[in-house]
Symmetry: C2
Subunit: 138 residues, 2 copies
């Protein structure tokens, strides 16, 4: 599924989030860099192009976008929060060697359990860890 910046802007308007220069740049970065970047990577990636950008703004923006369900937070590792512009139903695999995070398709809704009867589930995440084929063959 392709992510289109125009659709995201539409969503921002719906959520009453102002289309500031900084926010558009962060969004654009996330669309162009779907490698699950950290806040720091986003900040560094945009710093040349938007020299006035502050790290606080990056965090603020990411929090706003998360609340509006435009980005998804990935907590696969305890010391780094990552952000994903792809909010469709999918899991994340992190290679312990090269540290890369791979998306994989799964139908999370097919995971069924009696244990959660009566629970309202709003957010589902599936995280796998291991070694990717590139690193296995190296």
């Amino acid at each position: 599924m392709k992510i289109i910046l125009e659709d995201l802007l539409e969503e921002l308007k719906k959520n009453n989030i102002r289309l500031s220069h900084q926010r558009l740049k962060v969004l654009e970065f996330l669309v162009l860099n779907q490698c699950h970047p950290t806040a720091d990577q986003i900040y560094n990636g945009l710093h040349k192009e938007v020299p006035t950008l502050s790290k606080t703004t990056v965090y603020n923006t990411l929090n706003s976008l998360t609340e509006a369900n435009l980005v998804r937070v990935i907590n696969i590792e305890d010391n780094e929060t990552r952000y994903d512009i792809n909010t469709f139903n999918h899991g994340h695999f992190k290679c312990q060697q090269c540290k890369e995070i791979y998306d994989f398709g799964i139908d999370i809704d097919s995971i069924y359990t009696d244990d959660l009867n009566g629970f309202k589930t709003t957010d589902k995440n599936v995280y796998f860890k291991g070694v990717c084929p590139k690193c296995s063959n190296a």
Copy 2:
């Protein structure tokens, strides 16, 4: 499934981890408090009984136990690492209101995807968030 301290000690020996007083106390705490405590909660919970205990030791111990696969790390929230003595195949549900983490049974291995052919998977986590029945009815 019941967790028995003796079995854990056996595992420690197998992994060449010395049975120090502090480690035994941390392990005991995890067995008695299967509420997925944070390092801080473990430290505070043991402080009266083991006044010399330092927070560094708690972290060191948790890291050793994790490496030996005796405890499982839960990264359901970005600002808090939690620890689970129950290493059996199960998922975690966090209530956004009361903050409690519930275990739920699922067969994680039944989650199938073609996308991970060639990947070696060593660790699988399923995290759900939402509202638990207690909070829904309140």
